[in-house]
Symmetry: C3
């Protein structure tokens, strides 16, 4: 028996309702051997950008061929398309509403900045519209395509169904650019794009910018941090109130508090400006 | 290797404590190949009716033969029976306290209304009392039959154990009727029976009642909605404050708010009256 | 195909972030057949003692050979060791920070009381330092050893890798003794060590102490309970406000409230003193 690519779920459904369990039931009805992993179901309701960040930061830790399913879908039942994006390392099933933006950006040479738009399917990738009802549940609701379309299609894919059977190729996908850090002279101004359970503030400032020679100060809400730490419990830290700046596991600069929550202490959250000063 | 029917768990245990994990450990000790799915563990503590609704609305999305386990069990360790109900499409392990009421109602021609009672096992179904300790953990606590009785019995069933080996047949099961909509002339008066994570208010008014010809108004807390929507983002909606009425994925009339929470905006929750007026 | 020992995860990561899902992705990339069970991810951030209690109370319900992974790791990236402890019935991967204390105590004849220290690896057990990077992710972060070290090592172990290949044996492990009940004349004074989702207050007073002959009164916050109950709904209970004392499923004395939350009603939580009086 060959290995079956896992199906990885990202939704804003929460875990209190039976919605996630029902999707898994539908999947197992089609592929009883499917390995199903929850990435998270705690995306804020209808927060497409948060889901895009989480998927973009996580997909590379899954085995090649993993089938990612994103159901953050405020437009369910309207004319928005449902799509499959195939990259060299993974497959992504999602509504075509921008939830794949971070994954797309990682596969484009020059991802567009500026306003919401569409992008061409990146080189080496392919995309299809989910248009073939024979891979869906017999009766499709207007309100729960996670159960009626995405789950059964994921299950069929995990059994080896050919992507091209699912519907016609599409050339462009919706793209909602996430905020990018801005460089001005000897400064880089980024922002917090994700706050985790520990109160760590994950910014959009990449590791390469953060470890650049000459960094003299990281600033958030008027408080300065004068060096990068390596761990959440850096013994040499001299920053105010033990506020730390470090490159976190996502690969981005994080603001953290030794043995505490930076989000609560500052307080700060998504959108807060973080500035790097180089000497 | 044949497909193994999945074991589907519904409890009020929450996910913070190790109770759910421990049940899964017990299951895997008996059947290492079991596929275990969480339907939900967020049933309100000891809210039997909520669990009955969730299971009744969800079981049909699981593969035939799925083994549903419901542990919402305020009477654990007392004389309440533990039972197995087998329907043509699924098996249900549960305390005999009414948690199977919605499943039973769906298999009865004339489910009793009125006060709490018992019903006969529906035609085409069978039920057994769990009375054979050789399928339980060697030492059974008075406080955690999920771990000591239901989990091991589910695991044995998933390996193909014969239901009749588990204990004697039972002819009647506890039945706690859920509130039913009342028709009075050109009105139907129902109520909210479930509130989901998005703040959608799920009523007990079935799709067939909701789509009946001549519906002119849906009313909740004095606010009227004059048409049914098809999606949560219905462009043509003219209702006050974008309150929507639609047939949701459970198959019942729901009150929702476009891009928001109807539960919070109204505010309203379980038990709130919803009235349909027909012209 | 032989049975694969399950991998059981205990962390303080919560379920909102993608961290747990990412660990599972790493595991499946190495062992696509791994059965992964969540014990809990709701350990309070960096609460090593809580994790130690939960694991000590739960491991015996998992199949022999289960691979437990504990990632409650405030010192991640510092010089604290990462270790594998092998007991006759299970394996435990964890930072060497005391999170294995309850498991160790259960395997020692005379676990030390008093201040934090180290203990020798118990007889019949073995321990290894995780020191062989070929079993880790190629690039190890300073902030997420759950993903970069513990998950891949667990996956390799579940495939049958020899423990001794992972690194050199270690003779001593960090041990942080949990509070023990104190006996003074005809009293035993213990304390609440865990509060569950139902508001049951789990003490450190073992079943054998609780069921000792002559128990006349259990006292918490000045309120007395004059007998042990067998169930959470004990019909014969005459205690004030239906407060109950019973031996719970963890094997310890619990204070509970019939159909309610003792934690909320008293109110009380971890550290609250519970005294047993014998006649």
């Amino acid at each position: 028996m060959d290995s079956i690519p896992p199906i990885v779920l990202t939704t804003d459904f929460g875990l209190a309702d039976p919605y996630v369990g029902v999707m898994k039931g539908v999947i197992l009805g089609i592929n009883p051997w499917a390995a199903i992993i929850d990435l998270t179901h705690s995306i804020q309701p209808q927060n497409i950008m948060q889901a895009a960040f989480v998927m973009g930061a996580s997909w590379r830790y899954f085995p090649p061929g993993a089938i990612h399913v994103a159901v953050v879908d405020p437009g369910v039942g309207t004319r928005r398309k449902a799509v499959l994006l195939i990259t060299p390392r993974a497959s992504f099933l999602a509504p075509d509403n921008g939830v794949l933006s971070d994954v797309l950006a990682q596969h484009l040479d020059n991802p567009p900045a500026g306003a919401s738009a569409t992008v061409s399917v990146p080189p080496g990738c392919a995309a299809y519209q989910l248009a073939e009802p024979s891979f869906w549940r017999p009766r499709v609701s207007n309100t729960f395509h996670g159960r009626d379309i995405f789950a059964p299609v994921a299950a069929h894919l995990s059994r080896g169904e050919a992507p091209a059977a699912l519907g016609p190729p599409v050339a462009e996908l919706t793209y909602r650019p996430s905020p990018r850090p801005v460089r001005e002279g000897r400064q880089v101004r980024g922002e917090v794009v994700y706050t985790d359970h520990f109160g760590n503030l994950v910014t959009n400032i990449s590791e390469s910018m953060a470890i650049e020679d000459g960094l003299v100060r990281v600033e958030i809400k008027g408080r300065g941090i004068d060096r990068l730490s390596l761990t959440y419990r850096d013994a040499n830290t001299a920053g105010e109130g033990h506020l730390l700046a470090l490159v976190g596991s996502h690969g981005y600069l994080e603001i953290a508090l030794a043995d505490g929550s930076a989000a609560r202490q500052l307080p700060a959250g998504t959108g807060e400006v973080v500035t790097l000063y180089y000497g």
